[in-house]
Point group: C2
C-alpha cells in the first residue's frame, strides 16, 4: 500500500483531553478521530489494527468450539423486562422508543438476546453444551466518557454465552475460556493480571477478570509480592492479622476474664483518633459501627432484628423476591474500612450505601458517631470477622454507647453483644498479608479487558429456558458469560507498547508489518522500493510504502509514530556500487543494519512470520 | 466442521409471515432467527454466508482504492441538524436522547458522519480524491418490516462516500464504483438490472440503481425488449408517441388553422370516458389538469403566476432557501398519468401530492373536475410535453373550463394558454416505447440492492467542508455516495438460487463448499469420511461433515436444504472391494457419480476453486 493512496492524517498536536498514551497516539498516528464525546471513528490505519485484534479473538473463540452468530445491536425492550434488568440496568443503558411506541435497547451487553434465542431453539440435552458468541457494537451511556476508546460510549465487544446441563460442563467451558483469554492476550503482546474472584478466602464464585495495569485504571488490585495472588479490592481478602477464636466457648471464656462492661463519658470527642487519645488506647481496640442502607436484599430477613415488618416483592416476574430497602449496622475493627462490594455480596443486595444521618439518628436513637453494637435491637448487626477477636485484649473493646458523648469500654463479643451475621467485609489494603501465602500485598490500578463469569441460572430461570434431559424430564440449563472489549484491548496494546516517538506495535497487531521509506521516490530508489514491496507482498507481508514527496526526517518520524515493526530505508548512496545495500531497522531497536536488497524480502518475511509465530504460540 | 459441533437447527415448518423463498429458506436452513419484528439474528450457518458476501464487497471496494473506516453506529443528532436532515428524514430515523438529554441517531445512513469527518481532516487538494467506506450496522424504523432480512429494521450496509475537487474526478470514481458493483453482483452469482437515471431523455443526473427482479419488489422497472434500457418508473422516459412541435412558430401556425376556442355545456359528465363519449373524441385529445401541492420547493417562483406573495425560508442553516408550500396546476394528455417523482424533480420540491378538494375549489374557482389551462392565472401551470403536440389534431384539445359542467373545445396551445413550465412528467407504462431504440417497454418488479449516486455539493455546502486548491484558494469538494445492502444481497442470492428442496448456493457465497455424508459414521466409513474431510481442509476447502446418528434420508434432505454445492456420500458398500468408490453429487444436478476416494479431494478442490474462479472473473 502506498501512503499516497492511503489516508494517515498524522498530527503533531493532540486534543487537550488526551491524557493517556493510547488516546494521544491513536490521534497523533491518524488511527482515530472523535465524532462526539465518547464516540470515535477508526480511520483506515486504526481499523487495520482493530481488525487484527478482533480476528485474534475470533480465532481463539473458534478454536475452543464457540460458534459466532450475529444478533442485532438494537434489541426489543421486552426481553430486558423479562430478565428484570429493564429496571436494574439504570441510566447507562440507552433506551429508545420507535415510531410505534415500542421500547428498544441499544445493547450494552447481550445476556437477554442470547438467552431468548436459546429459549426458542433449545429442546434436548443433546444440543448442550453450546457456546455462542458475537463480536458486535455495544453502547453504554457513560456519564464521563474519557481516555479515548478506553472508556468510550460505543465500543465493540466480543461477548460469548455458554449453556450447559450442569456444573461440570460449565466448569469445563469456563476453564477453556480462561485459557483462550490468556492466549488472546499473549498473542496481542499484552501482560495481563488475571484476577480470580475465588482465589482467596471468598470461595469459588466463578469469575475471573483480566486486568492490565494502568494509571487511569478504574479498578484497585491487590497483588502479592511473594506468590501470584491477585484480587480486585472489591473482593480481595487477606490473611488474618489476629487470632481467630477457636470456638464460641473460647470466645466466652475470653469474655469472662474481661472487666465488666462500663459506660463512660467522652465529652467533645469527635474522631476515633481523639477517642484513642482520650482513652489511651489504639484504633485496633475500637469497634467502629456504621449504619448502611441496602437495596433489593435477597437474603432472608424474616428473623433478623427490627425487620419483622419488612415486606418482599419481585422486581420482575420470575425473579427472586427481595426486600426493596433494609438497614443494617456494620461493626468492624476501628483501623479498618468496610468494603461495600463485599458487604452487598454478603447481604445479597443489589447495592449498599451509608445511611442518611436522619436514618442513623432514627435507628440508633443517638447522634451520628455514637453507634455501637451493645443494646442495638432496631436493626440487624453485621460484624466483620475482625470484631470477633477483640476479646483477646486485656481490656476488651471500645464502642459507641448509642448516646451522645458516651462510649462503652471492656466490651466483650459473645457477652455484651451477639451479631446477626459474622462475615468478611474488610477492605484489604497494601501492607495486608496475602491470604494464600502470607506475603505482603501491594496495590496497582488496573483496567478490565475481559471477564469470564459463571452466571448459573439467573437468566435461564427468569427467562424460562428449558430442555428435556435423558429421561425426558424438563430441566433448566446453567450459563456462563465471557466478555472482552476489542477497543480496550487495542488501546492497551498501545499503552504497553510505545516509546517517546510513538507506537511500537507487536507484530500481531501492527497495521502493516514493514514500512519502506525511499529517501527520494524516483529512479533506482523507486525501482528498488517498488520491487521490494512487491516481493514482500508476494510473500504475504503487509507493506506500507512511503512514496510521499517529503523530507526523510518527516518520513522517519511518521514511521516511528505509527509504529510499523520493520523500517527499510532505500537511498541512492547505499544502492550504488557493486554491493548495494538497504537499511533495515527494527522499531524496538536504536540501531539499524545494512542488508543486501536481493535477500531483504526473504529475511524480512522470516523475521515477520517468526515474530508472529512467537507471539501466537 | 462436524455438524454435531456446529449449530444448524433446521426446520420443517416456517413462520406464517415467511412468504418469499429467501425468508422461508433462511429460517428452514437454520441460518436465521427472529428476535422481534424486523430484527433478526444470524445463526452460525447464516453468518458464514453473510461474511462471504461482506468480504466480496470489501475486496471490490479495496480493489478500486476505497479505504475502510469504522465510525460509530450511534451518532450525534447535531450533525443531522447541520445537514438539515434532522427534519427531513422523518420518522423512519431512530432518534434517541441519552441521559444528559443530548440527541443521538441510530444511523440509517452516514453522509453526515463521513462529511463531518472530512470537514475536520481535509485541508489540501492533494488529499483528493478520497473514497472512504464502512460496512456497518444501520437502522431504519420501517413501519411494516417484512420478507425477513429483505426489509428488516436493522441491517448491514456497505456505504462509501467519495470526495473530489471537481466533476471529472467524481465521474471517474463513480464509474469505478459502477464497475465494482457489477463485479460484486457477478461474484455473488446475481443477475442484476442496472438502472441508470441518466440513460434516457432525463439527462445525466448521475445515479444508478442495481435491481434484482422480485415479485415483492418495491420498485417498478421499465425495460426495453430490444435494447438494454432499464429505468425505474419514477424516472423512466419514453419515445414520443406524437410529433413534437418544431418551434413556437410551428405551434402558432398550427393554432391559427384551428377553429376558435369554444365553451360548451357538458352537463352530468363526470369522467374522461363520459366526456369522450359525449364529445365523440378520444382521451388523447383531452388535456387533463390536476392541482398539486408541493412542499419545500427550491425552484425560483418569484415571477410565477399567483406566487408573488409566497415567502422563502431555510429549513436549516446553510441549506438552500425553499418555499415551504406552493400549488401548481399540471396539464397532461388525457390518456396519461402524472409521475409525482418526476414532477417533484422538475419543481425541485421535497415532495408533491394532489391538492385537497378545498384547495382545488379555492384555486380554480370551480368544482373538482373542471380545472383547465385556459384562463388559469391563480397558480403556475406546468405542462407535460405531450400537451404541446395537441394542436396537430384538426379540432385542437378539450379541457375543463374552470366552471361547473362546462368545457372548452378547440383549445390551442400557444394561442389559448401558455404554460409557465413545459417538461416531462409522464408516467411511462408497459407498451410505451424505449427512449433509446424505440423498442417496446415491459414492466418488472424489482428490489434495490445497491445505489450509486453523485451527491454533488449538498452535504459539503451545508456542512461547510472546504480545502485549499493549487492556488491556495478555498474550494468546496463535490461528493458521491455508494450503498449496498449486505443482508439484501444475501437474501437475493437465495431468491435466485434455490429449488423445491432448498438453497442451491453459488460457490462464492456457500457457507461450506462440500458436505460429507457418511451413511453410518463408524468403522471404515468414519475413517474414510474423516480422511477426506482432513484432506479437503488441508487444500483450503470448507467442509461440513454430517456425523449425526440420523437416517441417510434425513441427512440428504438437510444437505439439500442448506444447499452445500458438493455432496459426498460415503457408504460401506461402495467402499468395499478392490476399487472403492464414494458418491459425488453437485447440488444443481440430479445425477451423482462414483469417484475414487483416493482422488476425491484433489478433484473436489479443483471443482470448488474452479467454480469460484469462474464467478470471480
Amino acid at each position: 500500500m502506498k501512503i499516497s493512496r492511503f489516508f494517515i492524517p498524522t498530527l503533531r498536536e493532540v486534543p487537550g483531553d488526551a491524557v493517556i498514551a493510547s488516546h494521544r497516539l491513536m490521534f497523533r498516528a491518524g488511527m482515530l478521530r472523535k465524532l462526539a464525546n465518547g464516540l470515535f471513528a477508526y480511520l483506515p490505519l486504526g481499523l487495520r489494527s482493530f481488525r487484527k485484534v478482533e480476528q485474534i479473538v475470533r480465532e481463539e473463540m473458534d478454536a475452543i468450539g464457540a460458534l459466532e452468530i450475529k444478533p442485532t445491536v438494537v434489541v426489543p425492550g421486552e426481553i430486558w423486562k423479562e430478565s428484570g434488568r429493564w429496571e436494574s440496568m439504570g441510566e447507562g443503558m440507552l433506551r429508545v422508543k420507535n415510531r410505534l411506541g415500542n421500547d428498544f435497547v441499544v445493547s450494552p451487553t447481550a445476556e437477554e438476546a442470547f438467552t431468548s434465542l436459546m429459549r426458542d431453539e433449545l429442546s434436548s440435552y443433546r444440543q448442550l453444551p453450546l457456546s455462542l458468541y458475537q463480536i458486535n457494537t455495544k453502547f453504554r451511556d457513560e456519564i464521563r466518557p474519557r481516555y479515548g476508546v478506553m472508556r468510550g460510549r460505543e465500543f465493540v465487544m466480543k461477548d460469548a454465552y455458554s449453556f450447559h446441563t450442569g456444573d461440570a460442563s460449565l466448569d469445563e467451558t469456563y476453564e477453556a475460556m480462561g485459557r483462550a483469554y490468556r492466549r488472546i492476550f499473549k498473542r496481542c503482546g499484552l501482560t495481563v493480571i488475571p484476577v480470580r474472584a475465588d482465589s482467596g478466602a471468598m470461595g469459588g464464585s466463578g469469575s475471573e477478570e483480566f486486568m492490565v495495569e494502568s494509571v487511569i485504571g478504574d479498578n484497585t488490585l491487590l497483588l502479592c509480592k511473594a506468590c501470584d495472588y491477585a484480587a480486585n479490592v472489591e473482593k480481595a481478602s487477606c490473611k488474618r492479622d489476629y487470632s481467630a477464636p477457636a470456638s464460641l466457648e473460647a470466645v466466652k471464656a475470653a469474655a469472662a476474664s474481661l472487666p465488666a462492661l462500663e459506660k463512660i463519658d467522652t465529652p467533645a470527642v469527635r474522631t476515633i483518633e481523639e477517642l484513642c487519645a482520650f482513652l489511651k488506647t489504639g484504633a485496633k481496640q475500637f469497634i467502629k459501627t456504621l449504619i448502611y442502607k441496602a437495596v433489593n436484599v435477597e437474603l432472608d430477613l424474616s428473623s433478623a432484628p427490627g425487620c419483622s415488618k419488612l415486606e418482599r416483592r419481585r422486581p420482575a416476574p420470575d425473579t427472586p423476591e427481595v426486600y426493596p430497602e433494609a438497614f443494617f449496622a456494620v461493626a468492624i475493627r476501628g483501623d479498618l474500612d468496610v468494603n461495600e462490594v463485599k458487604l452487598a455480596a454478603a447481604l445479597k443486595a443489589a447495592e449498599v450505601c451509608l445511611a442518611a444521618d436522619a436514618d442513623v439518628v432514627r435507628l440508633t436513637g443517638a447522634p451520628v458517631g455514637f453507634a455501637g453494637p451493645v443494646g442495638l435491637t432496631s436493626l440487624p448487626l453485621v460484624a466483620d470477622e475482625t470484631v470477633t477477636a477483640l476479646n483477646d485484649a486485656a481490656q476488651g473493646a471500645v464502642t459507641g454507647a448509642l448516646e451522645k458523648d458516651r462510649h462503652y469500654r471492656h466490651v466483650a463479643y459473645g457477652r455484651d453483644f451477639s451479631p446477626w451475621l459474622v462475615t468478611d467485609v474488610r477492605t484489604v489494603v497494601a501492607g495486608d498479608f496475602c491470604p494464600v501465602c502470607g506475603g505482603e500485598l501491594y496495590e496497582k490500578k488496573g483496567n478490565e479487558l475481559g471477564h469470564i463469569f459463571k452466571l448459573g441460572y439467573k437468566y435461564t430461570k427468569s427467562m424460562k429456558v428449558s430442555y428435556l434431559d435423558e429421561n425426558g424430564k424438563s430441566q433448566i440449563p446453567t450459563m456462563g458469560c465471557y466478555g472482552i472489549g476489542i477497543d480496550r484491548v487495542l488501546a492497551s496494546v498501545i499503552e504497553e507498547h510505545h516509546d517517546d516517538n510513538g507506537i511500537v506495535w507487536p507484530m500481531t497487531a501492527a497495521p502493516f508489518q514493514v514500512i519502506i521509506v525511499p529517501i527520494k521516490y524516483e529512479g533506482a530508489v523507486k525501482a528498488a522500493s517498488d520491487g521490494l514491496a512487491a516481493d514482500l507482498e508476494k510473500r504475504g507481508v503487509e507493506v506500507l510504502l512511503d512514496d510521499r514527496n517529503e523530507r526523510p526526517g518527516v518520513k522517519f518520524n511518521d514511521a516511528d509514530l505509527i509504529g510499523i515493526p520493520y523500517r527499510v530505508v532505500v537511498g541512492d548512496k547505499n544502492l550504488a556500487g557493486d554491493s548495494p545495500k538497504i537499511e533495515l531497522k527494527y522499531r524496538r531497536d536504536k540501531e539499524n543494519r545494512l542488508v543486501d536488497p536481493r535477500r531483504a524480502a526473504e529475511e524480512l518475511a522470516a523475521l515477520v512470520f517468526g515474530e508472529i509465530e512467537k507471539l501466537n504460540n
